[in-house]
Structures are given as structure tokens and as C-alpha cells.
Symmetry: C2
Subunit: 379 residues, 2 copies
């Protein structure tokens, strides 16, 4: 009973059923190439985050352009990736619980698997799971570099855990997880540089502390779409974990470059196409997408191509469009494009991507339909 | 590649993988029986809303207790219900677009199907789809009874549309859709009575307007979990569309009865079980559920059973628990129960329900695992 796709390859753009999650394939491919080139130029590895796309075919496209593997947040996501043939997966998150660690160890018999830790008991648990499965699991010690969420808070504590990993059987110390999530969304370049500057100090001190004790970090991982250039140029991080760059969203579009202008490096490649299902007034429309089709946790979507139009008042399956003074004459039954406020949770609401070629041209057509394979893989 | 379930029948409660969506089966069955009895006593029909549960097995349980059919919001939900054997489905929403209407007409050849309209062009489109499929689709005219979303805004406009339905081929006028969504969540009984009092005036005037023109309303539908007793006792509505009553959520728990006390009619039957994956301080925990496991649009979840503990700062897959002055000693690796802020979008994030018997007892065990079959059926 897997729900049907909203479109089929070859279908004209106008026939896509709504609401549906669209990829502008031209913009998406440009974004893929842009970050791959930037990482190569900076001399750092790229391990993009599959929490954004949840799709093995997108993972494969990233690896074809030089990515060394994938990050994900959940064992369930790692299962989908490994079972689709991805051979190097880092769960960039802590994983607790015997059943879940046994699943992780099962994967490690078929792919190169790593996971993050910030607690000695968890290290013992992962070691035990690896031994039960007669396999090896890689381990990164997570350090809190400013996010105030998971991770140890001193170089000494990181060293203690790294030594515990080195002493345990079935697991191998591979490095540090040093990701500052909220820094990605600071609006000015100055704020982002200040935040990652702080992260860099902590990370550098930790790498040196471990080095003094004879422990090398194969991976110093972190960075996201908002700050990757800072980490890449720091000489400290050697692996970038950006995810959103492939799609962008309305929140990231609010970030500004050093000159105060919008960042033009990546293009909006993810859209939700909606239909106007009611029209309470000439410049007000009700569309068929609310909380169940749009991730609104970082703000409402932008209305694409209609200056001054806004989306608001989402309920489960409705949203209100105010055309304002745009002068745009939309009617009930018309379709509109929205740029999601936050790409990751939006993708997670849909079962299918509709890949469109020539999206904003007169010849837009459906080229491909891909499952959001790890949608809902929450544990 | 449908993700695995987080538990199996017979499994002890402690082994459920997290985050997972749990049903307290005892509370759920009590809720089912409570509303079924209330509708029967009031002499009105019950057509519960499947947008809440998205599950044919739950639909069947509601109908076994006397419900006449199901409501849903999307054609995709109706497909899942009809294909699982539910024979009477109302899409309590406007549906635009030829492909979608052809799907609706296809269903109408295999079940009793109705849909809502608030626009003459849509009536013509539904009629055309029904004729293409050589079938009949029932039609309700939606009236705006205070929600300010979809629906016509005068009895005259409703009559015009009802007459258009009666004049069209392939479709049959069945009544009025008169639902006031935001009234469900007004906190005091007085506020809810005032809101539905206004809805009642509009609905009564519309029913009378149609009656004067010789058009009877087989269905006068509306009401939700917050106000159903008001509509049921009004003598105007004859079909209740409540959905959330089966589960309840932290938002509905804020509603108060006429005496200012919490409403005890329905019990919390829906939980998200989480694991503490990091512990930044003795009374602060990071749990493994954020926006991808919890619908936070109506407020954050309550922490079950720990007075004074709060959930906050959700990111995609993390949330922060502050134990405050609860005196509760939780540790990393422990599991906690959360009561979701909003049940419908929370259910829609998960692929599986884990049905637990004796949930808050020492003998809690997994009795059943049900797919959230229409999860993501957004179009």
C-alpha cells in the first residue's frame, strides 16, 4: 500500500499531481558540482549528509563526483543506504540501545560503518555489539563546538573517551565529530566566522591533545551548507558534512555573504508544487499544502516568482496565500511553486521526488521519479 | 525498502526501539467506545476522521462500533481506505485537478464516495470526471462557519452551488460541510460554545434556505474532538467528524470543561517513546526525537509522568529535556514517554504504530504493530 507517485516520467509539468516534492534537476546538478569542486579545491574530503535527501540515488550522484561516503543520523537511514550499495556510512550521532547497536553491527559486516560517542558506557555497548557480530565499527568522539547539544566539553574528556575506544575490542577510533549546527543559520558572514572561529579553537585544542597522547584523527568532521568554506579553509577539519546545499531552502536563502548580498553559490532546487483549492477573496487563496507537506519549523515557505506574495496560516493540509500587491492574478485551480522553509523535514514528509528538467522553462517535463527511500527511518 | 518496524508483537515494552509511535491500547479502546456511545446517545451519526490515524484497521474498529463511514482530507487517503475495504468515504475537502478527480471517480465505482465543493467550476469538473468513469460521486457544499478558510460565505451562495450540483450529471447533492477547526482548540467551554453558536446560526440558516428551495441535506457534517458535544446537541448537525479523540494530544489536554477542570472524557493514548542519547548536565538530557518524530506545530510534547520536566529546542532528530525540579533521576540510555503536541502531524511522521497492552503497568508488552498505511498520502 505504498502511496502512488504524483507523476510519471515523460509527463508534462502541468499534469503533476499536488502537493508534490519537485527537484529542479538543472539547479540540483549545478549544486552537486559546485560543492564537489569547492571541496576538491580546498583539499578536504566531502561526506554529504543523507539526512537531507534520504535517497540512495542522490548519494550515488554525490559519490560519483568524489564524495568519500555519506553521513546519516539514524541506523535506519544507514540500513537504506548500505542495502542500496553505499559502502562507507558515518552515523554522525550517538546511538544507544542493544537492538539498534546490533543492527549497526550487522551493517558493519557489509560496509564501512562509523558512529559517534560522547559517553564511556556507550563505547562499551558499541564494543559489545561489534564483538557479538564479529565485526569492526569505527568510532568518532563528538565534541561540543558551540551547539550546546551532544558532545564532550573539554579536550581532556575527549582524550579519555578516545583512549577508551582505543582500549576496547571490536571498535576503532577514527577521529572527531565537530559540528556546529546553529552556526549554519547565522545571517551574516561575520557571525558565522565568529561562531566557527570558536569551534576551530576547541577542535584544534582537542586534536592537539589527542596527538600529544599519540592518537591521530583520521577524520575531523563537521561543517554544513552555511559555513563549509570556513571549515574547509581552516586547516583543522578534513571532512565536510554539508547536506542542504543540494536543495537549498527559504531559511538558507536568508544568509548573506560578506558584502551583505544574497549567496548565489547554490540555487533553489527543491520546490513543493501546490494547487489553489479555494479563493476567499481575489488576492487570497487557499492551497492544498500545510504541515503534512511542508516543514515549517524554520519559517514558512516562499512563494516562487510572485514578488510580495506570502504563505501563512498552515493547518494540516491547507495554507493561505496572500497575493498582496503583487498584481499577480491567480485563480482557484491554478498551481503555484513554494520554496520550503526547511528542506530536510520537508523531504521527510514526502514519499517521492519528482525530478523536473527545464523546470522554469516552457518545456518543463518530468524526467524521473525517485522514492524518498529512507523517509520515516527515524530509529 | 519500507523501513522496518520498531518492535514485534510479544516483545517486552523495554525492547521497543526508539523513537517509536506507541498506542496505549487500553486508553485507545476506551476513547473509541466513549465517542461511539456519546454519538448514539445524542442521536447523531459518527463519521470519524481518518486524517488522524491514516489506518484502515483503526477505521474498521470505529465502524464496528457504529460509525457510518470515514472522513479523510486527500484522495490518496481515500484510496488507502477503499482498497482496504472501507465502503463509505467522504473527502471533507475540495479536490481540484483532472488526474485527482479521475482517481476519485475510479474509487466511486468501488465504494460510496463524497467530496466537498465551494466553487461552480469545481462542480462541473467533478461531474465530468464522474461521467468519464460512468459512476456517481456525492457532493457536499462547504460553508464557512467561522474558520475563514474554505467554504461559501452566505446561504444564497450555498443554494446556488447546491442547485448547480442538482443540475449536473454524475454527481448527487448530499448535504453541507460545516466544520469550524479553530473552535476545537479554544480553551474554555464558554469560548467553544460561543464559536459553535455562531457556526450553528450560519448552518441553520443555510439548511433552511436550501429547504425552502426544496433541497434536503442528507448530511450536515462537522464537529471535532473539542466541540462535538455542542454540535451533537444542537439539532442542526447530524454527522460528527471528530478524529483526535482516539489519541488525544498535549494541545487538546489544555482544553477545559465548563467547571474549569481538565476534560477527563478521553485519555492520552498516543505516545512517542524516546531514548536519552546524551546528558549535558545531571538534570538535562538530549533525546533522539525532534521535528522528524514529533509534530510540534501546536506546541512541544509533554513529558509523561515526570512533573516539572519539559521538552524544548527540537532540531531535526534531537530534543532537549530539562528535568527541572522534578527530582527525577534519568540517565543517558534511559527511555522516556512523550505526549505529542499535535497528534495528526505526529502520526504522519511514522511508518508504524506499536500497540501496547497494559502500557503503564509492570506487564506492558507489545500486542500489535500496525502500518500507518496512508502516511504521506498527501495528494
Amino acid at each position: 500500500m505504498f502511496p502512488r507517485p504524483p507523476a510519471e516520467p515523460g509527463m508534462p509539468f502541468e499534469e503533476i499531481d499536488t502537493p508534490a516534492l519537485l527537484i529542479d534537476l538543472d539547479a540540483f546538478e549545478s549544486n552537486l558540482a559546485t560543492l564537489a569542486a569547492a571541496a576538491k579545491q580546498a583539499g578536504v574530503r566531502l561526506r554529504p549528509h543523507a539526512k537531507t535527501h534520504k535517497s540512495p540515488i542522490i548519494a550515488r550522484k554525490q559519490m560519483d563526483l568524489g564524495a568519500v561516503g555519506q553521513c546519516c543520523q539514524k541506523v535506519g537511514e544507514a540500513e537504506i543506504l548500505v542495502e542500496a550499495g553505499i559502502e562507507d556510512v558515518l552515523v554522525s550521532n550517538e546511538v544507544w540501545g542493544r537492538r539498534k547497536l546490533d543492527r549497526l553491527a550487522g551493517l558493519a559486516r557489509h560496509a564501512k560503518i562509523a558512529v559517534c560517542v560522547d559517553h564511556a558506557q556507550n563505547i562499551a555497548d558499541i564494543s559489545a555489539a561489534a564483538l557479538r557480530a564479529d565485526t569492526e565499527i569505527g568510532v568518532l568522539v563528538e565534541i561540543d563546538v558551540g551547539a550546546g547539544r551532544c558532545g564532550v566539553t573539554s579536550p581532556e574528556a575527549a582524550l579519555t573517551l578516545a583512549q577508551a575506544v582505543e582500549a576496547a575490542e571490536g571498535i576503532r577510533f577514527r577521529g572527531l565529530q565537530a559540528y556546529h549546527g546553529s552556526a549554519q543559520h547565522k545571517r551574516s558572514q561575520q557571525e558565522r566566522e565568529a561562531a566557527i572561529g570558536g569551534s576551530a579553537e576547541i577542535t584544534k585544542a582537542t586534536v592537539e591533545k589527542l596527538s600529544e597522547a599519540g592518537i591521530d584523527c583520521e577524520i575531523v568532521g563537521g561543517a554544513g551548507t552555511g559555513t563549509f568554506a570556513i571549515e574547509a579553509g581552516s586547516g583543522i577539519w578534513n571532512e565536510l558534512q554539508a547536506g542542504s546545499y543540494i536543495f537549498m531552502d527559504a531559511d538558507y536563502a536568508k544568509n548573506r555573504a560578506a558584502d551583505g548580498q544574497p549567496i548565489s553559490q547554490f540555487q533553489h532546487a527543491l520546490f513543493v508544487i501546490v494547487t489553489c483549492m479555494s479563493q476567499p477573496a481575489p488576492n487570497k487563496l487557499v492551497v492544498d499544502a500545510g504541515h503534512k507537506a511542508l516543514g515549517n519549523d524554520s519559517g514558512f515557505p516562499d512563494v516562487w516568482g510572485i514578488d510580495g506574495a506570502t504563505y501563512s496560516r498552515p493547518s494540516d493540509e491547507h495554507g493561505a496565500i496572500d497575493l498582496g500587491h503583487s498584481g499577480h492574478a491567480a485563480n482557484v485551480g491554478d498551481k503555484l511553486l513554494l520554496v520550503p522553509g526547511h528542506c530536510d523535514p520537508t523531504v521527510n514528509l514526502h514519499n517521492w521526488y519528482v525530478g523536473v528538467r527545464g523546470m522554469h522553462s516552457d518545456n518543463a517535463r518530468v524526467e524521473t521519479v525517485w522514492p524518498v527511500a529512507a523517509r520515516g527511518a527515524v530509529f
